[in-house]
Structures are given as C-alpha cells and as structure tokens.
Symmetry: C2
Subunit: 325 residues, 2 copies
C-alpha cells in the first residue's frame, strides 16, 4: 500500500531553503500534503514576503477547489532563523536558491556540515548537474536534482536526476516522497544538459526560431500550430503514445509509414542557427504587437487560472475514479 | 463583418475527393457548417462506407454537444457517381486521396481538364509540396496544401502552404473559407519538408528517440514529462507565448536569462541519430508493455473522447464569450 507523505518522512519536518518563487511553490506542495515545513532564506525579509505570497496563492487555489483549509496549511509553515535551525532533523530539504554554481556550492558545503545521514536533499536547479556543486562532499550521496515545473503545486511533473555519487537509497526515498505528494516522477538516468523537459522544449524552440528566421511562419502562426493542433494531444498523452495510436499497428507501424518524412525533416536542418539579436528583436516585436508590455502581468494571471482549471479538472476526474472503484 | 461559409462559397457546393479517414473528417467540417458536400472516391464502395463512418462520428459529436442536428447535416452530403459530377460548379475541392505523388498527379491532371477557373483546390497532403503534383498544369495557380490535423472537425488547426504557382487570390479564398468554418489557419509561406506542424513534432520525436537510445529516460518517463508538464501550457499557448510569459520582461528577457542553457542543449546534440530497427524495437516493446496490442483500438476511442471533451469545453467557453458581449 502507498504511504502518506508523513509516513515517508518518518513524521519528521521538511525544509525549503531559498524562498523565492520556486521555493514558495514547493512549500505549498509539502504543507498541503500535511508535512511540517521550515522556510529559510539567507536574504532577510525574503521568507516573510514568501509567506504573503504563499497565502495569496493558497486563497486562489481554494477558489478553484484545489485546497480545502488554507488556515491549517499555513499553520504548518515555520520561519527558521538560521540554516541550522531549518535543517535540524529534517527528513528532506528542497534547495531552491539562486541558479548559480558558486551560490549552490557554498550552501552545500554548509549543509555537508549541518546535516546528518538521515537527511536527503533535492535541488530545484533547472539545468546544473548536481555533481558540479556536491563533488567531493560527504553529503553528495544524499543529493540529487528534483526539478519542478513552475508552479509545482499545479503542474505535477518533477525530474529526478542523480549525480554519479547519488545513492540508490536517496533516489528511492525521493521517488517515494514525490509519489506520496501526488507529483508525477520522471527518472533522468544520467546527468545531461537541460535534463529531459528543457531538452524537449529546447529542440522545439530551436526549430520554431529557425522557422521565423527563415521567413516560413510568424510566431503567432507557430503558436497556433501548437495550441490549436499538436498541443491538444500532448496535454494528455506524451509524444510516444501519440504516435503509437496514430497508426493501425502501433509505433513500429507508424515509423514504417512516416519514418522517411521525419528523416527528411531531420536532414533539412543540419545547420545550427544561432539566436541573433536581430532574430530575437523580431520575435520580441511580434509578441509585443500581440501582447503589449503592460499586459504581461495580467496575461500571466490568465495563464495561471488556465493551469488551475486543468489541475482542478484532473483532481475532480481522479476523485470520481476513486469513488467509482 | 465575417462571412458565413455559404457566402464565402457563393452558395456553391464543395467536393471531397478521396473519402478515407481524412476526407470523411473534412466532409463533417463542411456539412456541419451548412455547405452542400459532394463525396467522390475512385474506389467504388468507399463513399458508402464513408457515409456510415460519418454518421457514427456525428452521433458521437452530438453526445458531446458538438453538433445539433445529425439528420440535417447528413442531408447535405451527396454521393457523386463520377469525378466530373463531384466537381462541376464546386467552389472548393478538398483533395484527400492516397499520399503518393503519382496518384495525386493523375488526379490533378483530370481536375485540370474538369474544373473551371472559379474552383479552388486544397490538398490534404501531410508532407508533399503541391508543386510536385501540379507543376505545369493551368490549375496550379488555384491549388495549395490545406493540411489538417486528424480529425479536422475536432482539432481546428490547418496549415495553408502555397506552391510558387499559387495565386494570392486562391490563398485568400481558402483563408476566408477556413476561418468561416471555424478552423485555425496557419500560413506556411514557403514549401518546406513537413510544413510547420510535422517539423515541430519531428524535432521533438528526434530528441525523444535519442534520449531513449542513449539510456537517459524511458518512453513512459518522456511521455510523462510532456503530459504532466510541458503539454499543459502548450495546449492553450504556443511555445513563443510560453517563453514570453516565463520571464518578467518578456521574450527578450527570457532569452537573456536562458539562452545559454538552450545553446548548450543545442550543442550537445550535433550528431544525427538514426532510428535503427533495434531502437524502434525497444520503443515498441516499452509501449506494448504499457498498452497491449489488442487494446490499441479501445485506447484510440479514449483519445478521441478526450479530444471531444477539449473541443466541447472550448465551444462552451466561446459561446459564453459571445453571450457576455
């Protein structure tokens, strides 16, 4: 039987170190699942404003039926006065400090001294392999990348990326913890630039930029191709299931039918087109024509409401599934 | 003011030539919008079974609130006994015959003789530039690719791809017709392998296959990365709007922050990895473990219901928008 988050954590608290946008998002994931969460940020004042932000987010989640009791979730959050206080006896630490190797390295040297062997650390880095900031430290065997999509309390995927030093036990612990929290766990088996998610996004952006650069299509027409076409399937099936269902006999049959087309697409783009200032300027101009600079914030709120609507639907569907069992 | 489909077509009928899966889908798009549709297929018997299939699809659409009156939609469909009968006086022909240059070329030579100058032809080809089957024909100026996603009555995107011979008037006519039908029109300004949609899908599949080949992640974990992560945003925003909203200052700011990561991802995959039989075999094995061969059909029906649910939601949202105006 699956364990609850508290059972996985052995009734111990978790710590969020670095309480910017990403850390605050993680705090919501942990606290709504019933865990005691200690927040710490080296920048004084940052945790207090994080709490304000978390409270605001929780009220918005509540209005979409995504959390029940805002007050009791908030009651599980504690501000820690020091790093030592935050991590003492913690089952798990989610590191979410600035995306710089030197900043992360300095933090992990401190954690190496402060943490006992029962604490596992996940790094929120979206691109730095953890070996670059844990190499040579005893704690390295208990550190791995746990890369969320923002915000993690809405979009469930997390990438688990061990370094060569990470122990199988640490991977297993985080896998179990993330599953118990309701996240969707992806195992990236080797350290690689951009992990899986940003690699998939990266190759797509590369082609999209090249199509604009070559005058084949506008940014908006490329966006339409995704949101009114490709993106529908990818929002509930991945690319492999998509092609598996797109030929009578499954994926091998699909490749037999369409492999030649994809090979010719592949061969038609062998050169690397760099993102020149001119190209980015044209993309920026096209976007600002569609969405003026002063409407960016409002549109971000729209996006978040759309994500909440998707999360709400999935929650209701899975609750209906539970009931019908 | 926007014109209705009948106004755009000058009260003339449209013809669907080739009544397989794609042609049948187009027939639904045209007929539900009030147009008279003539169906023709060189293979005798194909149009009759297409009608059965169309009727089944319409009943399913009706159950999702996507069409009102199945009987009156069906009443607009006519089986034509010959190609000449199908296309005589038609405003528009949607060519949906087999994906082979020789088959299409033979058809367009016939259409060249049969059609007068008031008829425009769209080809459903998913990858063949129309110049390859219209070159040297007088009709070439009135032919362009009008590439749908399957099924076009659910997924709205269509790619319009002119050949060098296509007239601006023909492009404008199809653009207006497709808009009036409620499709989402993407203009591909030059003939290019795979157009836009399959190029975007192609580069993503290429990286996904390479990640499996390199032992970085399983097919299922790559699928999760999409359906529980990236795909959420892409189902309602394209890749450009996504990155535009992902940095405080918009897309230029985003590239300043993350351009180096994407450049390093780009540089880490300079070689082309071909899809060997061994790799495809492993992908097939992984998929069959998740979804046995004998459940493919059932899962396709599930996919279609998910697509209908998305289409239904968008229809209700746009009707609510209309009302609130």
């Amino acid at each position: 039987m699956a364990h609850t988050p508290s059972e996985v954590a052995g009734e111990r608290p978790v710590a969020v170190v670095g309480t910017g946008l990403v850390g605050s998002g993680w705090a919501i994931v942990f606290a709504r699942a019933g865990l005691a969460v200690r927040l710490y940020d080296a920048q004084q004042g940052s945790t207090a404003s994080a709490l304000d932000n978390i409270e605001k987010q929780l009220h918005e989640l509540h209005s979409f039926g995504l959390v029940d009791d805002v007050r009791s979730i908030l009651s599980r959050l504690t501000l820690a006065g020091s790093l030592a206080e935050a991590v003492r006896g913690a089952a798990y630490i989610q590191e979410s400090v600035a995306e710089r190797v030197d900043v992360k390295r300095a933090l992990f040297e401190e954690l190496d001294k402060l943490c006992d062997e029962a604490t596992v650390v996940g790094s929120s880095t979206s691109g730095i392999p953890s070996s670059r900031f844990t190499e040579g430290l005893a704690i390295a065997s208990r550190v791995l990348v746990v890369h969320p999509v923002n915000p993690p309390y809405l979009v469930p995927v997390v990438e688990l990326v061990p370094s060569p030093a990470t122990s199988p036990e640490a991977i297993r612990f985080v896998d179990e913890l993330m599953h118990s929290l309701g996240q969707s766990v992806v195992h990236v088996r080797k350290e690689i630039e951009g992990f899986v998610l940003n690699r998939l996004q990266g190759v797509l952006l590369r082609e999209a930029m090249a199509l604009v650069d070559d005058g084949i299509a506008s940014c908006e027409d490329i966006d339409k191709t995704m949101r009114d076409g490709l993106g529908w399937r990818w929002s509930f099936m991945g690319p492999f299931e998509t092609i598996d269902l797109n030929a009578p006999g499954g994926v091998r049959d699909y490749v037999t039918r369409l492999g030649a087309l994809y090979k010719s697409i592949d061969e038609s783009r062998t050169h690397s087109q760099s993102w020149t200032a001119d190209l980015i300027g044209r993309v920026e101009d096209q976007r600002r024509e569609l969405l003026p600079q002063d409407q960016l914030t409002e549109r971000r709120a729209w996006r978040d409401r759309r994500l909440m609507a998707i999360a709400g639907r999935l929650k209701r569907e899975s609750e209906a599934d539970e009931k019908s069992r």
